[in-house]
Every structure is written in C-alpha cells, then in structure tokens.
C-alpha cells in the first residue's frame, strides 16, 4: 500500500481533489540519515519530573555520542514525545514511533505506560528500554524490552533484608498504589516479608491519582506500625508520608527508588522525609570517578544536581549506543537486541549484563535520608 507521509485525516477530501502531495516515507536507511530514537516520557502532570530526568540523562548520552562522531558517521536524532502519564497516549505514541521508523524507543517512565506499549513495539521489532521497574514488564515474554535499572523484586529483597534482618523491624504496614509499579512493589515486598516470616500489620491499596489518603491512613494508624512501606511514584509517596505524619503516624517510612529523589523530599517536607529508608542503585554523585564525571557533565548541561533517574537513563542509553556501535551497518531490532545482550557494561548504577528477559542490573543499595540528603547506610 502506498503510504504518504503525514497527511492529516482531515485533509482527505481536499487531497482527493488536489491530487497526491507529500513525500514518500523515509525508510530509515540512507547512508547519512540520522538514527531516529524516540523518547516517550511523562512530561506533564504529577509525574513530569520523571520525564524530564529521563530526557536529561538520555540527551546527555546522545549528545556525547554525537560529539564523538555519532554511529559510524550517523548522528542520533532524539525525539521527545509526551505520554502525559496516560497508558493510552503511550500506545498512540508507540504507533507513532513505529510509523516514524524509530530504531529505538526509550520509555516510558511509568511501568503502566511501558506495559501498554510493549505489544506494539515488540510486534514492530523495535527495542524498548524503560525506566519502569515493575516485574510484570519482564513477564511479557518480549525479547525487545530492557530495564535501565532493576526490578521491584531486587529492590524489595534488599530493603526487606535490611529492615527485618539487620534492623529487626518487624512491625511493618504497607500502602501501595494499584498501577503497574505500585502493584509490583506490593507483590514483591509482600513476598519478601513472607519469606522472612513477617506479616504486615495492614496492607492497603490506593490509586495513582489519589491525593487524599486520610481514611486509609486512619486505618493504618490504628495498627501502630513501626515502619510504613510506601510503594508509589515520587509525588504520591511524598503526599502519603506528609499526610501520615499529620495524622500522628510516627512510623519510619521505607520504600523504593522514588524516596531517593528530591521530589519526594520536597513533597513530604524536610522534617517528614528525615530518616526515610530507601533502596536505590544510585545513592550519591560522589560514589566514584564515573559518577563524578557524569555529575559534572550533567550540572554543566542542565544547571542542576543529577539524581537516580537521570543516571539510569544515561546508563540505559549508553548501553544501546555501545550496541549500535557494534552493529553500525544494520540497526534493525533483532541485530540491536543481540548486540545489547552481548555487552558487559560498567555504568553509574553498577554492572549491566542483560539476560533474556531484559534485566541487566541485579543489585541495589540501601540509603537513608539524613539532614535532607540521601546517604548510604
């Protein structure tokens, strides 16, 4: 079927009269044509920080690669698409990426959106690297999906071990949201607690767009927990913590990577966030020479402090840039994913070696918020 580029559906009748216009679609081939990479991220709404961090990280990696001559002389062209945090918009944008012959899709930041996009991108054999962490992402049976960090299973095993084995905290309440990320956190953390022989004092589920948690927190308060495990995105986690304190819940807050971000600390408030225990593979910009170099470049480019999400986006994109360099003449999906799996990559977050399911990073660390800063325990 003859396909012409970008003709709005609206113009149909006009076009019929006017005859055919437009250009034939690019096949993504040309010798010096740029390599199209689409970043589908959440740039608006409550989770907009995630999209912006991912963009910063990916853009930095791409700019550095392009400055060094790109891939075999071809530049990487990064396209920024806003999924608004809505999975349906994500599916539309995935179709758009297929239509535009993207070589790689980075996204989305939200596991829910990522899950919705997987079938479309996999069917089109376009590799997708996501900053989502829900274990469900790896269970879709797709060989085209990759995580730029690790899954809730790994995060929560580390966290549960620390809380229960090391700190002997066993009075733990759970509150998670019911999107893919929250559900992954819920299932993983509960499984780890069960493995350690601990039963949560209470286990409550909320929705991702909720902002009032009074009734749930009132129930939680009645169980008087020592630790409140929160499994939700940055802002929601902060709101839950803030409202929990104002209802008189004195428990220590604990959770995954969202708690290591400035957004969480800002939303909850310094006093509330103090003492929060979280796991994250990237606790400090000062960990080693690599992170210091990254942090310096990041600050120079964006004038702000990098954090976990920018770092992991940088790592994820860097792995793929390496893979592209291994097979520069054929950037088709099957070649690219084979190349990615053949790479051993030492990144900012640790050592990446991707398995069949798409998991590359297998370890994380425990940190705590002290004086408003995340520090390793």
């Amino acid at each position: 079927m003859l396909r012409l580029e970008r003709l709005g559906a609206l113009a149909a009748t006009v076009l019929l009269v006017a005859g055919c216009g437009g250009q034939l679609a690019g096949t993504g081939g040309g010798a010096n044509a740029p390599i199209r990479v689409d970043l589908i991220g959440t740039f608006s709404g409550q989770n907009a920080d995630l999209g912006n961090w991912a963009w910063n990280g990916v853009k930095l990696a791409v700019d550095q690669a392009n400055a060094r001559g790109g891939i075999d002389g071809r530049k990487i062209q990064l396209e920024r698409l806003d999924d608004q945090g809505q999975p349906t918009v994500g599916t539309d944008l995935a179709k758009r990426a297929v239509s535009d012959h993207a070589v790689l899709v980075y996204g989305s930041d939200l596991s829910t959106v990522t899950l919705a996009m997987i079938p479309i991108l996999t069917a089109a054999r376009i590799p997708e690297i996501t900053s989502g962490q829900a274990p469900a992402i790896l269970q879709q049976g797709s060989s085209y999906i990759f995580l730029d960090s690790t899954t809730s299973a790994v995060f929560d095993q580390t966290l549960a071990d620390y809380l229960v084995e090391k700190r002997h905290l066993t009075s733990i309440a759970m509150i998670t949201n019911n999107d893919a990320y929250g559900k992954g956190e819920h299932d993983s953390f509960l499984a780890e607690l069960t493995r350690l022989g601990v039963r949560p004092t209470i286990d409550k589920v909320v929705t991702p767009d909720q902002t009032d948690f009074t009734s749930v927190l009132t129930e939680i308060r009645a169980t008087d927990p020592g630790v409140l495990f929160i499994g939700a995105e940055e802002v929601e986690t902060g709101l839950i913590a803030k409202q929990a304190r104002s209802l008189g819940i004195t428990a220590t807050f604990a959770g995954g990577a969202p708690m290591g971000t400035p957004t969480y600390i800002q939303t909850a408030g310094l006093a509330v966030a103090e003492g929060t225990i979280m796991t994250s593979p990237y606790l400090s910009n000062d960990a080693n020479a690599k992170t210091r170099a990254f942090a310096a470049a990041y600050r120079k480019a964006y004038g702000q402090e990098p954090e976990l999400h920018g770092a992991k986006a940088y790592d994820g994109m860097s792995v793929f840039i390496q893979a592209m360099r291994r097979t520069p003449t054929d950037l088709s999906g099957p070649r690219l994913i084979a190349a990615v799996r053949s790479i051993d990559y030492d990144g900012l977050l640790g050592h990446f070696k991707f398995d069949e399911q798409g998991l590359g990073l297998h370890a994380t660390q425990v940190g705590v918020i002290k004086d408003g800063k995340v520090v390793p325990v």
Binding site: P87, T91, P119, D179, T207, D209
Partner: protein, 603 residues
C-alpha cells in the same frame, strides 16, 4: 421528503473515506481509526442530548463499559470476541438504562450532575477493581478473528470501523429524520406538550439513554479489540468533556455535525503533538466562542451558509418500497377513536386540587355530553387551567374522579390521556419550537406505541414507508388550516395567530374524541376569531366534543352550548349561556369585575 433523499455529499464523502487510507502512514491510519470510533460515540451522545434533551454526562463511561466488558470477557474468561461483542453491547445498554433511571425523576442540571456523579462512580470502579486490572488496565486483548483479514492491522481496522460507522450513521439519520427522532426532539422542546401529544415521556427518556448506550457500546467493543488495550484514563472526565465539545461544536441536533466535531477534535488532539498546552487553550477558547457566537455549531453555520448561497444541491431519491401516489393515504395505525359508549363524553366528579396549601380546585363537578361545545369561564385564578391540567393528566387530582365516556381515568398520566382520546391546547402556546410546522403535526398524528420502534432494528425500510404516509396525512390536515405553505418553517417563526392554528391542528392530528382548548382566541383579531368559531364548529361536526376556556364573552356566548362558571376553584354556576348570564352569583362574582373587559373585547 428529506429522509428519503441523500445529496451528492454522502456518496462522495464515502468514496473519499474509502480511498483515504492510501494517503495515510501507519500512525495517521491509527488516528483515523480513533476518529471513526469517536464519531460513533459522539453520534450516540448527540442522540441522547441533542435530540432527547437528556443531559447525559456519562457517555464516556458507557464507552468504557463496552470496552471493558468485552475486554474482560475475552481475556479473563476466554470468550470468542464475536460472542463477547454483543454481550458487551448489551451490558452497555443496561448500564445506560441504570444511569438513565434518575432521568425519570430529575432533569436538566440535576440530571447533569447525577449522571456525571455516576460516571465518576464507574471510573472509580474501573481504577480500583481487581477484575478491571486497576490503574494498569487490561492488555493483550485478542483481536477480532476474521478469516483472511488481519484485524491487528490499522488499515484493515479502518475499513471494519468504517463499515460499522456507515451502518450506524444510516441508523442515526433514519432515527433523526423519522418518528423516533421527532418524538425525542418534541420531548426536548416541551415535555408537557409532548406528553399531551401521547408521547410516553418516561420510556423516551430511557430510550434516549439506551440509544446513547448502544452507540457507545458498539464503539467501546471495537475500541477494545482494535487498540487491544484498555485503561481507565481513556474513559474519564477529559474524554467526556471532549465528547461534549464534539457535539456542541458540530451542532447539537445534527448527526453530521457530531461526526465532523469528533473528527476535528480527535485529529487536532493526536496530530498536533508537542503543543498540548496551547492546543488545550485553543480548544477551550473554541468551545467558549462556539457557544457564544455560533450556538448551533458548525451544522448551524453550514445551514446558514447554504441558505445564503442557495447552492443548487441536487438530491438523489433513495428507492423506497412502494413509493408514489399510488399508495392511498391509509390510516397508518388503526387510530384509537373510542366509540362513545356513553352519551356523556366527560364527567368530572368533585375534583379537588391543592398546591402547597393553596386551593386551586374545590369539589368541582361538571358533565359534558358527547358532541357539545362546552365553555368554562371565570375570573383569572379561578382554577380553569388547573381543571384542564387535571382532565388532561398534566396534574393529578387531590380528590374526586374524572370519567371519560364513562370510564374512570382519574390520575392517568398525560400521555395516557392523549392515547385515550383527549387532546388539548395551552394557554401560553406550547409548540415544539425547534420543529417545523409539519413536524409538530406529525408528532401528534403518530399514534404508534413505543414498541413499534423495534422496526428500526428489524425492518428499517418500513419506517420510511410509514413515514411517507404519515406525512401525506399531516399535509392534508395542514391544508385544512391553510398552513401547507409554511409546513417546513420552524414553528417558532410563525406569527402568533398562525401558531395558535398550528396548535389546534396538532391537537386534532391525534384524532381526539375530546378536545380541550385553553383560551384559543387570546391574541387573535376579529377575523381570526370568526375563523376560529367556524373551525371549532367544524370540529364538533366531525363528532369531537369540545371544552373551551375563554375570556372573550362574545365568543363564548355565541359558540358554546353550555357553560360552567368557576370562581376561587369552585363551580358557582352552570347552564346555557343565557341562564348563566342571568345568574346573580355570576354577575356578582364574575361579570361585575369583568364587564369592562367584555365590553372592550366586543368587536
């Protein structure tokens, strides 16, 4: 007639839509599929709101119900999509009926917030429940299996949806242009007059919701299996407002308008990426501008432009079975013309009615023999119109009985009274103001019970044939009133006197056995009054009993055979005009004060 003709626009448009995908890349093809789906949902909303006047803010929730029902049945229970589809559409219709139930009790903004609330409730369920997949929704919904055609391909999807859309647009246009649409519009324009014309208001309110549900359900099922992913965000408030905007921008009571509105907004939303905020700003401003400057939407603008330019749009006749003048204007349904079983057409027995402690009627009794022209007079506020309201079923009496040809009909509803042969006019004209003169009459002429609308699904072609016969009869009736040349004018555009005539013609169209005229001469000049008298006498000649409320004493005295006089909600006298005129109580309570008016009103 309008319905049976299609301009060259429709086939050309269809042709354009058929070749369109050739010019589309994969993404725009996907957007085109979404557009077609939203056109279906928007047309459904246009039927509920634009035609039926029911403020339905749950259309997006209906869309979601259809999509989720089919998604759940096929993924969790492994049903074949073709089996799940009709069940899901049915489930959506059921949901629409449930959400529509409050419409029986509340209307306008009350209904708006109740339906919006129920939509929020549905969204809440979708986001929270386990069986709906919570906030993550449901993925991996199977495509519709179709031998030889891959329905995971957006280009093929496009043609499938287009085929369904053509059928549904045809159905919607058929509804819009014939009896069902006319009844919905009549109900929207004036509920009381619609009920008095025999329209079963409760059924039609639910029916309006049912139609909305049907269209949303079909679109929802297609959406689920073509996009193969559903999540709550697709069916929330934003979508609802988008749908509303489609219908308003397109034009509230135009099927084409809703379709164009949907196409415009979805195309803008999906093709102008990167401009979300400005796009949203423009979209909001466009809505405000439309409402303020072009309240009839694009359809209204197009109609105005067409009137001004007077393009010679040729019309192609659609072949309609048994078309032509060979068909005799047979009475379409056997009209229930009750043969007078008793010599008394109307008997009111000690009827009382109070409004919030105010006595409007107190123990009123009267008797009208078959074939009489009976007058009811009395000073303002004496309860005359309330009496009509009680007799015609608009108000329920607080006490007493109303008998029609000997049959106890106390407390029947207005539409029931209409179907029992009672027709009426209103003191302050209640025409269906956005319908044409012809349509006004056709509404009342049409005595089909609501269940006859099954024809639209079972045998749509018979609808057109019946419609044509009905139209011929209506034109005949209009001719009697010399209204045929204004048949296609909006009723509200006629001069007052003509509107009064239309109202009487409408009342007669239902072939009543009892006609209640509420101040028919008000606002008429002398010549028109004479004509009115002649008309009323002719009506009586045809065997119809007439009860008339009138202030114009000259008219009453010369027209009526007997009179009943009301004052302060009580009957103070009754008898022939001469008897009443000589009654001391009448002179004291009534004529004394009204004498001056009477003198002034005399020609």
């Amino acid at each position: 007639m309008r319905v049976a003709r299609v301009g060259p626009g429709a086939p050309l448009l269809l042709l354009a839509l058929l070749v369109l995908p050739v010019f589309l890349d994969l993404y725009t093809a996907h957007v085109a599929v979404l557009i077609l789906l939203f056109v279906i949902v928007a047309i459904g909303l246009s039927l509920v709101m634009g035609f039926g006047g029911q403020v339905n803010l749950a259309q997006a929730a209906f869309f979601g119900t259809g999509a989720y029902a089919s998604a759940i049945l096929t993924t969790a229970y492994g049903w074949n999509p073709w089996l799940a589809a009709p069940v899901a559409v049915l489930a959506t219709c059921l949901m629409a009926l449930v959400v529509g139930l409050p419409a029986l009790r509340v209307q306008s903004h009350y209904l708006g917030i109740v339906s919006l609330g129920l939509a929020v409730a549905v969204a809440n369920l979708l986001t929270n429940a386990g069986f709906t997949g919570g906030a993550s929704g449901i993925s991996k919904i199977p495509p519709l299996p179709f031998p030889g055609v891959d329905l995971t391909d957006d280009y093929n999807d496009y043609y499938l949806v287009l085929a369904v859309l053509v059928v549904l647009v045809a159905l919607a246009r058929l509804i819009a242009g014939t009896t069902l649409g006319r009844r919905l519009k009549a109900m929207r324009d004036d509920t009381v007059a619609a009920a008095a014309s025999g329209i079963e208001i409760p059924y039609y309110r639910l029916l309006a919701f049912l139609l909305g549900g049907l269209f949303a359900g079909v679109a929802g099922v297609l959406y689920a299996h073509l996009v193969r992913y559903v999540s709550p965000d697709t069916f929330g408030l934003d979508t609802m407002f988008l749908l509303l905007a489609m219908v308003i921008i397109g034009g509230q009571d135009s099927i084409w308008g809703a379709a164009v509105g949907a196409a415009l907004l979805i195309a803008a939303r999906n093709l102008l990426a990167g401009l979300e905020t400005y796009q949203q700003l423009a979209y909001g401003a466009l809505i405000v501008a439309t409402v303020v400057f072009a309240p009839r939407g694009l359809a209204g603008l197009a109609a105005a432009a067409r009137r001004r330019l007077a393009w010679p749009w040729p019309s192609l006749p659609i072949p309609v079975p048994s078309r032509g003048s060979a068909v005799p204007a047979a009475p379409d349904p056997p009209t229930p013309f009750p043969t007078p079983a008793s010599a008394v057409a109307l008997r009111v027995e000690e009827v009382s009615k109070r409004f919030r402690g105010l006595t409007a009627l107190s123990q009123v009794s009267l008797e009208v023999p078959v074939g009489e022209i009976h007058g009811i007079i009395g000073p303002n506020g004496s309860g005359k119109t309330t009496l009509f309201n009680v007799i015609s079923g608009v108000d329920r009496p607080g006490g007493g009985r109303v008998r029609l040809h000997g049959r106890d009909v106390t407390g029947r509803r207005a539409y029931q009274m209409s179907r029992l042969g009672v027709a009426r006019t209103f003191q302050n004209l209640r025409l269906f103001h956005r319908l044409t003169v012809l349509e006004n009459v056709m509404v009342a002429l049409d005595r089909d019970p609501a269940r006859a609308h099954l024809r639209y699904l079972v045998a749509p072609w018979t609808v057109l044939a019946r419609e044509r016969r009905r139209r011929e009869r209506a034109l005949g009736l209009l001719a009697e009133f010399r209204l045929e040349e204004v048949a296609d004018e909006p009723a509200a555009s006629l001069p007052y006197g003509r509107q009064r005539q239309v109202e009487i013609a409408r009342a007669l169209a239902g072939r009543p056995s009892l006609l209640l005229l509420d101040e028919p001469a008000a606002g008429l000049n002398a010549a028109e009054q004479e004509e009115l008298k002649a008309v009323v006498r002719r009506i009586r000649e045809a065997g119809v009993t007439v009860v008339v409320i009138e202030h114009n004493m000259g008219l009453v005295m010369s027209l009526c055979e007997r009179l009943t006089v009301l004052a302060h909600g009580r009957v103070i006298a009754s008898g022939t005009p001469a008897e009443v005129a000589g009654d001391a109580r009448v002179i004291e309570a009534y004529l004394g004060r009204e004498a001056r008016d009477r003198e002034a009103a005399r020609p």
